[in-house]
């Protein structure tokens, strides 16, 4: 009584052996990691205290932002360390089991799925790409190049004051429409260019400015799974895109390598698993 199993991820047994997972501390910063053999596979776990991670306590704790932030960060740190040394199927935050048998049981259900997934993940890295745009710059850029806009501006200059005002407003909304279309197409084209290098991709939520805290608008947020030998070419492609897009207000943010968070769908839910 008092200790639960916190599951970080699943890997090949040999890889867990070689990586020497016991050198690292778990999510609570004190209990060391170890692994449980599951046939060819291994579950990387650590003990956690029931007083902190028990089912009831956990429900309350996940509402405490400070606690959650600290632990989730720690969870992420552990996964980063593990991911560095092995092919890993990362588990969601707070995937907890009461008994070792329960993990064994889960493994017997998911074994084939996990093995296939690990084979797919072999030698890959996950990278995330966020594309932002400063619409004022794109507006300027679009307006100064588009022949129809130029023509209409010339016409407007010849008009009387009142008409000038109305037509300028109309032109503004025309340009705005063009800009929002351009934001969509440009980001989509970038994604297709990046996709060429990838084994798999997935789109993530595009956040609004309140969440990002940036002046630029987020236009695309995607996760990319790449073979390691493609990473360099992928990043080069992004650097080129960054340079090409700068003048028109485009900003591309790339982060990684991450544990394959977005490519490890094993239908595992967080919480105590019995």
């Amino acid at each position: 009584m008092g200790e639960l199993f916190y599951l970080y991820g699943v890997t090949w047994k040999e890889e867990a052996q070689e990586a020497g997972v016991t050198q690292w501390k778990g999510v609570d910063g004190s209990h060391p990691l170890f692994y449980i053999e599951l046939g060819n596979l291994a579950a990387v776990v650590s003990f956690v205290d029931e007083s902190e991670f028990g089912e009831e306590v956990l429900k309350e704790k996940t509402n405490e932002m400070e606690w959650l932030k600290k632990k989730a960060f720690r969870h992420h740190e552990v996964l980063m360390q593990l991911n560095d040394g092995m092919t890993l199927i990362p588990m969601k935050f707070a995937t907890i089991f009461k008994k070792e048998e329960n993990i064994q049981h889960k493994a017997s259900v998911y074994e084939t799925e996990w093995e296939t997934l690990l084979q797919q993940l072999l030698g890959t890295e996950e990278w995330n790409v966020k594309v932002y745009n400063r619409s004022d710059l794109l507006k300027e850029h679009t307006a100064s190049r588009h022949p129809e806009v130029m023509k209409r501006k010339e016409d407007i200059a010849q008009m009387s004051k009142g008409m000038q005002y109305l037509q300028t407003k109309k032109l503004d909304s025309f340009i705005e429409e063009m800009v929002s279309q351009e934001q969509e197409t440009y980001a989509r084209n970038l994604h297709h260019r990046f996709k060429e290098f990838c084994v798999d991709t997935t789109s993530k939520k595009v956040w609004n400015k309140n969440v990002t805290g940036k002046d630029e608008e987020m236009c695309w947020n995607g996760a990319y799974l790449l073979k390691k030998d493609q990473v360099e070419a992928f990043l080069e492609q992004i650097t080129t895109a960054q340079e090409d897009g700068r003048e028109a207000g485009w900003m591309i943010e790339v982060t990684g390598p991450w544990p394959p968070y977005h490519f490890s769908d094993t239908k595992t839910v967080s919480g105590v698993q019995g």
Binding site: H76, N128, K161, G162, Y165, V211, W258, Y261
Partner: protein
């Protein structure tokens, strides 16, 4: 779960919210009122542009309408200056619906 997915609670206090704290009630009310006026002004303007495009107005009427709307915008800018509000302040965030304007 990537770390940045957890930063939701750290939303910066941006414009686009009506600030109705007890000490600044006057300022909050001004922002609220001007937000509504600005919304109406823009609706009127868009409607006017549709009328102009409809082709039922005489040139003189169009001219008058244009000048009137232009003056309205100038006045609106003055009011924004007086209450120290920016366009962003008048464009309230309606959450999932996006921004008002």
């Amino acid at each position: 779960m990537p770390l940045n997915d957890l930063d939701l609670e750290q939303q910066p206090l941006k414009s686009g919210r009506i600030n109705l704290d007890p000490d600044g009630a006057e300022q909050g009310l001004a922002q609220l009122v001007l937000t509504v006026i600005e919304l109406l002004r823009q609706l009127v303007e868009r409607h006017a542009i549709r009328r102009v495009d409809g082709g039922t107005l005489t040139e003189e009427q169009i001219e008058q309408l244009g000048v009137a709307l232009m003056n309205l915008e100038v006045k609106m800018d003055e009011l924004k200056d007086i209450f120290e509000l920016t366009d962003e302040d008048l464009n309230i965030d309606l959450g999932p619906l996006g921004n008002l304007l």
